[in-house]
Amino acid sequence: MTADHPRPPPRRRFFALGRNELKGLFWQVLVVGIAVGVIAFLWSNTVTNLSARRITTGFAFLGREAGMPIADSLLAYNPRDTYLWAFVVGIANTLRVAVIGIVLATILGTLIGISRLSANWLLSRLAAVYVETLRDIPLLLQLLFWYVLMQALPAARAAWRPVEGVFLSNRGLILPAIPIGSPQLWVLGTAVLGLVLFYLIRRWLIAQQMRDGKPRPAWPFAVGLVLALPTAVSVALGVSWTIEWPQLRGFNFVGGLTLAPEYFALLIALVTYTSAFIAEIVRSGIQSVPRGQWDAANALGLRRSFMLRQIILPQALRVIVPPMTSQYLNLTKNSSLAVAIGYQDVVSVANTTLNQTGQAIEAIALIMAVFLTISLSISFFMNWYNARIALVER
């Protein structure tokens, strides 16, 4: 293969394909052939094994009665419901921990990432210790640790009360809550509508400012549409927003919002673990904005909040968003560790189903389908967001 051996002159073409194309074709046929061969081999084995064990394939089992208890669920469920409904309840539980986990981890991670850059030496050291410790210990170990701590909490009667109305006991965390019924939902719906309207108006205002350079305040619209409008609807309909305080009756609590120990432990573990990674992402994002941008903004005499919002954040976000997406995906996938402490997410439900029915292939296919769907939706949303904030180059 050295320069001393010149290549032979190209031969006559075979079916109008060059030497390289033929070689490429050969490799592709070989690799696809091996892949198809392996899959066919596994498939035929599986079919033989399933018929030997008298397991019928297919998703017919989803219509049967599940008979498994699900203690903590967002949706109404009882063991006489079908496997299909059990799966739906499991998916809802997965989403419940993933969505709230993502929101809390983002807030906590951002705070810690900013703390690491603080001029206060003590604060930045503490943040660094937090990040290093949590990143270097397996999440499953942290999860088991939090769960053990939850179980070691006092019984309901001797519950800790960090704040009035909040109880922490081995029954989990009990918070005061506002009961949400359909009248309250109407009011919240108006608020969402107001938010959408506000977003559209703000876009229009910015477009106007781009044309003539005059700044137009957007906050009166925000107050009007997002606060005043729902308040007016609430008063007009006479919706009540009384807070329901939890109370100890006998051995348990009545009223309020209960976060079961399993859910609470999983949430804490996921949020603290992921926030350590998010902190590093936020820190490197802020550090990636060149010094000159800060100096230039200061030289223009911009207010600090305006500078952060309009100069620094847009540039930092470009660095932050792509790795943040993979952290959100990780958090969602890591929520499947719930199976280790008995929080019934979709993996846990699928595992029980698998043990009860023997429908291994279907159960695992369902887990994979659910996670692939969630992963693709998160990637899709974050790619859209990333494209929106990306640098528009000429």
Partner: protein, 369 residues
Amino acid sequence: MTAITDIPEAPRAARRPQMGNPVLRWLRKNLFSSIPNSILTVVLLALLAKGMFSFVQWGIANAVWLTSANDSSACRAARGVGACWAIIPEKYRFILFGTYPFDEQWRPALSVVLFIALYYLSTRRALWRRELVYLWIGALALISVLMWGGVFGLSFVSQDRWGGLPVTLILATFGLAFGFPLGILVALGRRSKLPAIRSLSVLYVELIRGVPLVSLLFMASVMFPLFMPAGFNIDKLLRAQIAIILFAGAYLAEVIRGGLQAVPRGQYEAADALGLSYWRKHRLIVLPQAIRHVIPPLVNTFIAFFKDTSLVLIIGIFDLLTTAKTAIIDPAWQQFSVEVYIFVAAIYFVFCFAMSRYSRSLEAPTTPK
């Protein structure tokens, strides 16, 4: 959003004569630079002191360090006020080596030492040559002989008696040793011009990365027997190992692909101009550069992956975390799981922290030659 720390000092400040005690100056600059900052420092110090005080009370002052064999009464007396570190000397052999025959436990211990030596040698830049591959093959073969035995007068120990730290290191190291070449092949496949090979690689990477490792491990433990011909059965540990290799391969492939993209086009063209074949071009020219580019993210992937081996707990394989969890099933010691978890967390931490320090040292700018 307070100020950013690494602002280069203005030259004016450097010329001004520095007054006063350097300690006081440091304190004023870093802890008491403004009124809000001083308040923050005081609040943090108070919280830190309170936390440290209760930890020292629990973990050192009131702790029970040693008891006579299998006697947890002293610990139970101190429960709630002091830690029971006595559980560690009581259980450490089981936590570290699982159910490996007690008199033979020097073999897994020696394996752990060999693993650590292997990791250490792999971090030496001077040794990044072809010989390192032979070293890995030799060391892994030696570890297999030590763990299994059956030759050189060592008694045979089947792998369902293995447990603890060696199993964690085996899962991670073998996963890496096989996942890395797999990752290289898949990364090359994903950048190949051949559509069939490219789409197979994309399918593999996206499928594996889209689902949690737990579901792959379930697949390995439940579905694998269905996939194989009747009567053919392989061990649970090996099945988990295969799942981990496939998992590692997909993640490593993405990191390596990033490195391949960073190799300038001219390098490929120069290799083509020399008339090198595809494989020689990649082996001699492209891959060495590509991998050098991505060593820090590769080390970060190794860390993630080392921690993820603990997930085999869910399918009941005796790695370090599972032995720890099993050690506290013993009713006499059941209440002292926090101490055991802290002990195991410290072991994981030492490994991961060493790796992350190493990755950081690689990232530090090196002086150009």
